[in-house]
Symmetry: C2
Subunit: 310 residues, 2 copies
């Protein structure tokens, strides 16, 4: 969606997974759905800014997805195509989509992933560390010369099993994107406000707490912001919605770096709008079909959700 | 908190319970706590407007509570003092306050409650039907000559067991206050937007969906509004917070009736602010200690939660 004049916009460096997902959804089932955190994040970021991806895929990953991403201004030279099969996740969603069960995870080529940044990526100013092993997140950071915004996602698996490495990640990032249960687990504190304060003391000054159908909370230097979630009347597939949110957020922030007062709140609303489309189709289908006017309308609807006049 | 010049503000008629609560809270336990939906709602409404209560208590109910309510401009002539003991509820809250278990309910004098409006109440323009048997809600409505705003609360117990009577209530009210699970149960529909639409078709054009720590949603003729909940760092006792929210909402709406464009959204923010104080003390303690400047500050904090500038 960005145009030639966006060449002045700094690129968003994204590290994460590219995957096949097998999905058992309330309304349908689908196999071999192209997904992965880097795929969703790159598609979303590319609505606003150039993106650069660091990931690994197997021989079975479709060339057409590479072509589609490149067509959207995504630099794919950091994606390794290795001998073997692509990472695969299978999951079953509850009938109300509020929870999901992992049925199977096959790491495949991802088991040997060591992120190696092409030279052209090393000047990246904006970095999104997708939800991968914190040691790999650190390896990526080590290869970026002077990042201005570093956001990371993480999950219960790393909070439980790789806390020392995760703490080193937290000390080096400015923005943590995490869901509410994971925040509580990380902080060892149920109260969301106290938990946020405890995690901010570990490093990230900006904390974005995802709350599923309830939207998200931002804790930052200006206080707290409630990011509303649009109450959708069709919800098909939440897979990748969090990665879409993160990618759109960083992409939109990239466009604001040229401003004197980048408004994180507006970027969050925009990211929530993009993520809401992700849920409305299986895999990336709705996201790739999104056009500028639909997005503008959804952002306007989200703003109206929190509009108060005296 | 209202002053002599508020005498022009129409009174809010409140029907509900007055009770003793025995509370097992994460931080403390307390017995014989004065509570009940009408008590909380009247205290909250009286911050903004005169209130009138229809309820029943036993001989054991403290005269000091009557005196306190009267001192706040609450008309108590609709409260019957009957032979016997006051309604009593005991409950235990989960350690994170997100759920509670009823340990015991003793209806006592409430078992024979037939609401009878004093003649002076029959001109009430604003009516809050607290969460009691829908047949009793209807009896109250039958005694009000020309109400302008009628809001009702209800619960799973009536949705399951008294649906025909509840449907007759819904056909006669303009505002339904309900929590998200109850809305889904009432509509037989999980999707919150579709459920809201289905319930609006049963009568109430304004639907306020309470979502606990996630705040509330308003569905009305202007669309959807996200009522934020202030993320508190001390949460003591959620008992009565929903009734406080409803009472404050109707009280604040009463003050807006004199305006050309009453802003329901602003009233909802105000109600959320008042309810947030309720949670910060056992029973009604924090609510009765609330002063005007604290409330103004909390409302301002809530507004900042949803403030977006371009």
């Amino acid at each position: 969606m960005h145009t030639p004049e966006t060449d002045q916009i700094p690129a968003v460096l994204i590290v994460g997974s590219m995957a096949f997902d097998d999905l058992e959804l309330p309304s349908t089932s689908a196999t071999d759905v192209v997904g992965g955190s880097a795929t969703y994040a790159a598609l979303a970021a590319s609505l606003f800014a150039p993106a650069r991806v660091v990931a690994i895929v197997g021989r079975d990953f479709p060339e057409s997805t590479f072509a589609e991403l490149r067509g959207r201004g995504v630099d794919m030279q950091g994606v390794i195509r290795a001998d073997g099969r692509t990472f695969r996740w299978s999951g079953r969603y509850a009938s109300d989509l509020s929870s999901r069960t992992t049925l199977d995870t096959q790491l495949n080529v991802f088991a040997h992933f060591r992120p190696k940044l092409p030279a052209a990526y090393q000047d990246s100013q904006i970095v999104l560390l997708g939800n991968i092993h914190p040691e790999l997140q650190l390896e990526v950071l080590d290869q970026v010369r002077a990042p201005r915004i570093v956001a990371a996602d993480t999950m219960n698996y790393w909070i439980d099993g790789e806390r020392p490495a995760l703490l080193r990640v937290l000390a080096r990032i400015d923005t943590l994107i995490i869901n509410d249960e994971e925040l509580r687990q990380l902080a060892g504190q149920h109260n969301i406000r106290l938990a946020a304060r405890a995690v901010q003391e570990l490093g990230p000054q900006r904390l974005i707490v995802k709350r599923g159908e309830h939207g998200a909370l931002l804790f930052d230097e200006t206080g707290v912001f409630v990011v509303p979630a649009f109450p959708l009347d069709t919800e098909i597939d939440p897979t990748g919605a969090g990665d879409t949110f993160a990618g759109a957020l960083l992409g939109h922030l990239a466009t604001r770096l040229t401003n004197d007062a980048p408004d994180l709140r507006l970027s969050l609303l925009t990211a929530a709008a993009v993520a809401s489309f992700c849920v409305q189709g299986v895999g990336t289908t709705r996201l790739t079909a999104l056009d500028r006017s639909q997005l503008a309308e959804r952002i306007s609807e989200l703003r109206s959700l929190i509009d108060v006049r005296d």
